[in-house]
């Protein structure tokens, strides 16, 4: 692993910065220059924390049918439920405490967003690196495949897949991975092509290192920066996409609602004045996506050498 760090250090040292800080310290100081980005990063961390510890944080278990009762249906924020607990954000059409529903929904939304982004990233990196390093016909075939996929709107592909596969966590996850891998493949290939022509790769080749070793230990660490940026943005994109699909009623099951399905549930009550059922989950979704995007924006600014001051 030391080799990687040296490689990375050498590569970016070549960009002309000097000083005693390690790259990571420099990254942190650059990142924290933007107040909004810091706040967003905290919001993202808080959201992840809430999602991970949902069962400990949520006032009630919205999936426990022995507590949830239709008698509590569509109660306004602040009302007292049959169980004696206060529904701070009201209840939804099934009588679930909306706040608890949102906390659990956040968990599903984030889980699917991050999960699909990570798997798609892994696939995209492998495919992209192979394309860049192999070049020639392999590259053309892979890239035409990527072009083909990118020429269709993501939502369309996801819709078709889910309509054929049906609802559920696994199926939504699968659809989102299929939709996203091409973005990563293209990004990785682009930066890998640039890196491939650099001297350190040439020298690695001269040392007769194996292809796999060059790919994994030398090329990969140097395309990480753009990947992190794309990965962050894509996670937000995946969360929004999942919410859209669930809103359309083909993503998640109603019994395990994500933020999108909660909004969709609330949409049925839009004419009857029960605004909270869709507004609150909508706001939660908005905050999540905006803060991830802000963090992603800042990451791009910091990690892109061309934008460096």
């Amino acid at each position: 692993m030391t080799v990687i760090n040296e490689d990375a250090g050498v590569a970016s040292a070549g960009q002309g910065s000097e000083g005693v800080e390690t790259p990571f310290q420099r990254f942190v100081s650059d990142f924290t220059e933007s107040k909004i980005a810091v706040v967003s990063a905290f919001v993202v961390l808080a959201i992840v924390f809430i999602a991970v510890f949902a069962p400990l944080i949520a006032p009630t278990d919205p999936y426990d049918l022995s507590i949830v009762t239709v008698a509590d249906k569509t109660m306004a924020p602040g009302a007292v439920m049959q169980s004696g607990q206060i529904a701070h954000m009201g209840t939804d059409g099934s009588g679930r405490d909306l706040l608890s529903g949102m906390i659990y929904g956040l968990r599903i939304s984030l889980g699917i967003g991050i999960g699909s982004a990570v798997v798609a990233l892994a696939i995209g990196v492998v495919v992209g690196l192979i394309a860049a390093y192999a070049g020639g016909r392999v590259d053309s075939v892979i890239m035409r495949l990527v072009d083909m996929q990118l020429s269709f709107p993501a939502i369309l592909i996801a819709l078709v897949l889910l309509v054929t596969l049906g609802k559920g966590v696994d199926k939504t996850l699968f659809a989102l991975i299929v939709v996203q891998w091409a973005y990563y493949a293209r990004t990785v290939r682009g930066s890998a092509l640039v890196e491939r022509r650099k001297e350190y790769i040439e020298s690695a080749q001269c040392l007769a290192l194996s292809k796999a070793r060059i790919l994994y230990r030398h090329l990969f660490p140097n395309v990480l920066a753009p990947l992190i940026v794309v990965g962050t943005m894509q996670t937000a994109h995946a969360i929004a996409l999942e919410a859209t699909l669930s809103f359309l009623g083909i993503g998640m099951e109603q019994t395990e609602p994500s933020l999108g399905s909660l909004i969709s549930n609330g949409f049925q009550y839009i004419h009857s004045g029960h605004y909270w059922i869709s507004i609150f989950p909508g706001l939660a979704l908005l905050f999540t996506i905006v803060s991830i995007n802000l963090v992603g924006d800042r990451l791009r600014d910091v990690l892109n050498p061309r934008l460096a001051k």
């Binding site: 049918l65 022995s66 569509t74 059409g93 099934s94 049906g166 049925q268 009550y269 004419h271």
Partner: protein, 537 residues
């Protein structure tokens, strides 16, 4: 501005306003699109409603399903124990100008009887009947045994033209479903002509000037817009995109009833929403112990367990909360006012402690686990009803999971998704609207012992079977005397639901339509949305 100009402008404005209001075309926003324009492709509510405006039937139900009205038949009577005579209306012409005669009816009857490749068949109305032409305007329908429900059955068979040329082939008398979908064969005798069907979007019908028959023709042109999404349908009416919507979402009824821009009308339907329970498998796939492991015994086979489940369900809460008050608690197959009900039976009272005692007596005092399956786009609030039932059972010691799915997947699996085309699920929510307007249709389909060859128990997804009930029902079906038949049907209901708990009735649907002011929809009991019933006030 001179006085005259002002008057002139006012007159122009008045004409424009009245022009818009009096325009003789109507736009109707409806939830469910027909699956085909072929009258025998699918025995489905939306198909039967829509196509009944294009095609005639011998006999039709009045809007409240309280009596039959003569359409293509002018009179009918049983001339002996096994033969019914129908006198056909003279001078009726099809939309293409050809004459309607007994041949067209016989052609239609045969096509309905031998239909292949459809989604669900009309054979239950044609089985065991043979049609004979006496002259151009008289037909005899003969059965083996006395069959009092003949006129009721004829309310389901639409008459198509025998002269129409389709795309050929040997199946279905040379007419394919697509010939109807593109309008080639969509030639009927009804008050409205087929103009255009844009799948997923709209259907346009036009007034047929040569119409002869009892039905009204209030509009020159009717456009049915298919708006599946509940809030979008309400929004379309409020925005003035459509003049009327059906299936007003129950959550909107409260707000809309106070809104001056709309007027509502509603009517109790012939549809009961109920639960089927697996009574035929010793190991039922979705019955588990409390932690979700398979059970080697099926508690649902025990009538006491089924009764206990019924007692755990708080029907008042379902009606008040889930249905927002727009439904009626059910204790049998049809609401008050329909034929063949039992006067003794009441909706089961909510009694959780009694239910627990009963479960304990049946040896299931520790409870077990269930999964309820249901559609999420077929009945009013269907998925929410499943959730509410699951909540109630879970609270009372039967932890229940909920799985809902779109109707096109659900019904196939619920009826024949299991091994050997058996029902796949153990505990399902379904609804049944009695097409014959009395209780023999649901008794025959839902509670009679499943026997495909006899056309019995066709939709009996729990496979309730009781020879005693079958006997009473068969006797009823062959009894011509109305009073006696009514008593027998009531008795069959008392056995099938009262004693056996063969199904658990929850509630009767109440359907709501909303129109813009100045219009009125005469609510129907058969749930159909028909442009003919939309009238100016």
């Amino acid at each position: 501005m001179s006085k005259f100009t002002r008057i002139g402008l006012a007159a122009v404005a008045a004409t424009m306003v009245s022009g818009a209001a009096m325009a003789d075309s109507a736009k109707l926003g409806i939830r469910s699109e027909p699956s085909s324009m072929d009258p025998y492709f699918h025995n489905l509510g939306p198909n039967n409603a829509m196509l009944g405006q294009i095609f005639g039937r011998l006999v039709d139900w009045g809007p409240k399903m309280d009596g039959l009205i003569p359409r293509l038949a002018t009179s009918w009577k049983a001339i002996n124990d096994t033969t019914w005579e129908f006198k056909l209306r003279k001078g009726v012409k099809f939309h293409d100008g050809s004459d309607f005669t007994a041949d067209d009816f016989i052609f239609s009857f045969k096509r309905a009887d031998g239909y292949t490749g459809g989604n669900s068949s009309f054979r239950t109305y044609t089985k065991g009947k043979s049609v004979k032409k006496i002259d151009d305007f008289t037909v005899h329908i003969v059965t083996e045994k006395p069959y009092p429900l003949m006129p009721n059955d004829m309310t389901s068979i639409m008459v198509i033209s025998s002269d129409v040329k389709g795309s050929g082939g040997s199946a279905n008398m040379g007419l394919k479903a697509k010939d109807f979908n593109n309008g080639t064969a969509t030639i009927g005798t009804g008050p409205y002509k087929f103009v255009k069907w844009r799948k997923g979007d709209s259907l346009v019908l036009e007034k047929y000037d040569g119409y002869k028959g009892p039905l009204a023709q209030p509009w020159d042109k009717m456009t049915f817009k298919f708006i599946k999404s509940e809030p979008a349908r309400t929004a379309a009416l409020l925005a003035g995109d459509v003049d009327m919507i059906d299936n007003v979402p129950t959550s909107d009824i409260g707000a809309l009833s106070k809104d001056k821009r709309v007027s509502l009308s509603s009517g109790v339907s012939n549809r009961v929403i109920y639960l089927h329970m697996d009574q035929f498998r010793d190991k039922s796939p979705f019955v588990t112990d409390k932690s979700g492991n398979p059970l080697d015994k099926n508690p649902l086979k025990d009538a006491r367990v089924r009764k206990a489940i019924s007692m755990m369900i708080n029907r008042d809460e379902i009606v008040d909360k889930v249905m927002e008050g727009v439904a009626i608690k059910a204790g049998q197959l049809l609401p008050e006012g329909f034929f063949g009900r039992s006067e003794k039976m009441r909706p089961q009272e909510y009694d959780p402690s009694g239910a627990k005692k009963l479960l304990a007596a049946a040896g299931w005092g520790d409870g077990f686990g269930l999964t309820i399956h249901g559609p999420n786009d077929r009945y009013i609030n269907d998925a929410r009803i499943c959730e509410a039932v699951a909540q109630m059972l879970t609270r009372n010691g039967i932890p229940t999971k909920v799985v809902t799915m779109p109707k096109n997947v659900y019904f196939k699996r619920a009826s024949k998704g299991g091994p050997n085309k058996s029902p796949e699920f153990s505990f399902v929510l379904v609804g049944w609207g009695s097409g014959t307007g009395e209780s023999s249709s649901p008794l025959k389909s839902l509670l009679a012992t499943h026997d495909k060859s006899k056309g019995m128990g066709a939709s009996n997804r729990g496979r309730h079977a009781n020879p005693m009930m079958d006997e009473v029902l068969l006797k009823a079906l062959a009894t011509v005397d109305d009073k006696e038949r009514g008593t027998l049907l009531a008795k069959a209901t008392e056995i099938g639901i009262g004693e056996d708990q063969g199904i658990i009735p929850l509630h009767y649907q109440v359907n709501t339509w909303a129109t813009r002011p100045g219009l009125k929809y005469n609510a129907r009991a058969d749930e159909r949305t028909v442009g003919l019933d939309l009238v100016k006030e």
